[in-house]
Symmetry: C2
Subunit: 302 residues, 2 copies
Amino acid sequence: MFDRVALIGIGLIGSSIARVMRRDKLARSIIACARTEKTLNTAKRLNIVDETTQIISEAVHGADLVMICTPVSTYGEIAKEMAPALKPGAIVTDVGSVKEAAVTAVVPHLPKGIHFVPGHPIAGTENSGPESGFENLFEGRWFLITPPPGTEQAAIDKVANLWKCAGSHIEYLEPAHHDQVLAITSHLPHLIAYTIVGTATDLEEDIKSEVVKYSASGFRDFTRIAASDPVMWRDIFIANRDAVLEMLGRLSEDLAGLQRAIRIGDGETLEALFRRTQEIRRGVIEAGQHIPPAPVNLDKEK
Amino acid sequence: MFDRVALIGIGLIGSSIARVMRRDKLARSIIACARTEKTLNTAKRLNIVDETTQIISEAVHGADLVMICTPVSTYGEIAKEMAPALKPGAIVTDVGSVKEAAVTAVVPHLPKGIHFVPGHPIAGTENSGPESGFENLFEGRWFLITPPPGTEQAAIDKVANLWKCAGSHIEYLEPAHHDQVLAITSHLPHLIAYTIVGTATDLEEDIKSEVVKYSASGFRDFTRIAASDPVMWRDIFIANRDAVLEMLGRLSEDLAGLQRAIRIGDGETLEALFRRTQEIRRGVIEAGQHIPPAPVNLDKEK
């Protein structure tokens, strides 16, 4: 499918797609680029890439597919560095959770004849680093493609085919619309999880230890989400600021309403909401999206 | 261990402990009491109880252990109805998520010589009803006992031993302290999950369908929590109002701080929090509380 693939960043997503490409022989060679020797050595040890380098221009040299798998704040610098070294006609893609900011950061740097196909796999776990990846992470999950107007169809199809091999279903969205949808389905839940776990860490010492001890009652699920990569998520909230603040505003209003209902003992309002939310769950189950990712990295969890 | 056990309510928790008692032959006979014929028929069909009745005084007649497994708002009425029929020396226990309100609702109705041992298993799933129970639900989980001052030790030990057979670890807490801890570990996470899923249901139609479609990116976990029993949770928030509002106040402050950080693009503040929350997750994993309940009711999930 590809001759030479350059992965800029080899964390959970980068290492998982590398495993897929190895399994299905989708690339003649895969080169990984990362900032630290340590990450690259891990990738080599796992035998999921053929070559490694810390130099971006070296990584993309001769590559027909370049995939950016780093936090969104790094995109501009990476695009600038890779631009002069890109092979004419190469496809550049990414896996970032915010798409308007990705387009804005990357497109201005790319020379004519380079195809930028922004993408986003709706899959992941709370773990990060090359060891945390696994080849069936994307199985049955969505891969969203948000091509800027005028992107060549052949380039889009090549990226789509790669992710189909990974087991993903493909969908096409406008970048701005993608960012709005993800603000509520992903960014807001993460923000809330981070907040609530943070609130718990500020509690008086005697309660704090008990919070961990008795976390199986709901809190546990939030700690899992709030264990996600700090830098990646810092960048997401800043890059998708407008949509996140808009959704957070709505949430705050709704929360104030519930607070009032609890204060005045208005059980009807509470129960009515709790029945409505059960229906959404049924929708999620019907859409087949209720099963969490299968093989958790057990070594890391221990 | 017991001669005759009366279960008032036979949902997720009641039916799970009934299964444990059956498996380990802890009771000579088990009688289930529920409001609807349908629930009782299900319990009979599942063969987890020996007798059924819709009349509370009939259920507790001759029982040496009475376990209340219904929403907290029903406790007062149930205690009042059972009081005249209770066998002298009987133990009354419960499994409710709020303990001060449980004590306040039950104790005034109980005749002298009856032992009230309030309890709370820190275990559960989002499913409800007798079919959703399973015998290893409590395996490795905490069972919290919050005895009012002066409760007889022998009665406490009998209840503790039952839950040890279910695989639980026992801990003793003051009722008010229990309610504070659970407000942050359980009640607030549920409130937030209900809110965020509710916010999503109020979105414009075009986004709403996509929220379900792309829920695997974080939202899914909230929909699971927000599928919990509406009546049970309505009662919990109202019964534990003060502690829930206190914790909600802290959360709102913290959320306002994060909102500001996002608005002004203060990445440092965000990243610092996100690193702190990772540590809490490590604590949860070290405490062995990170693994979600094992056998989900798959029939119901399909």
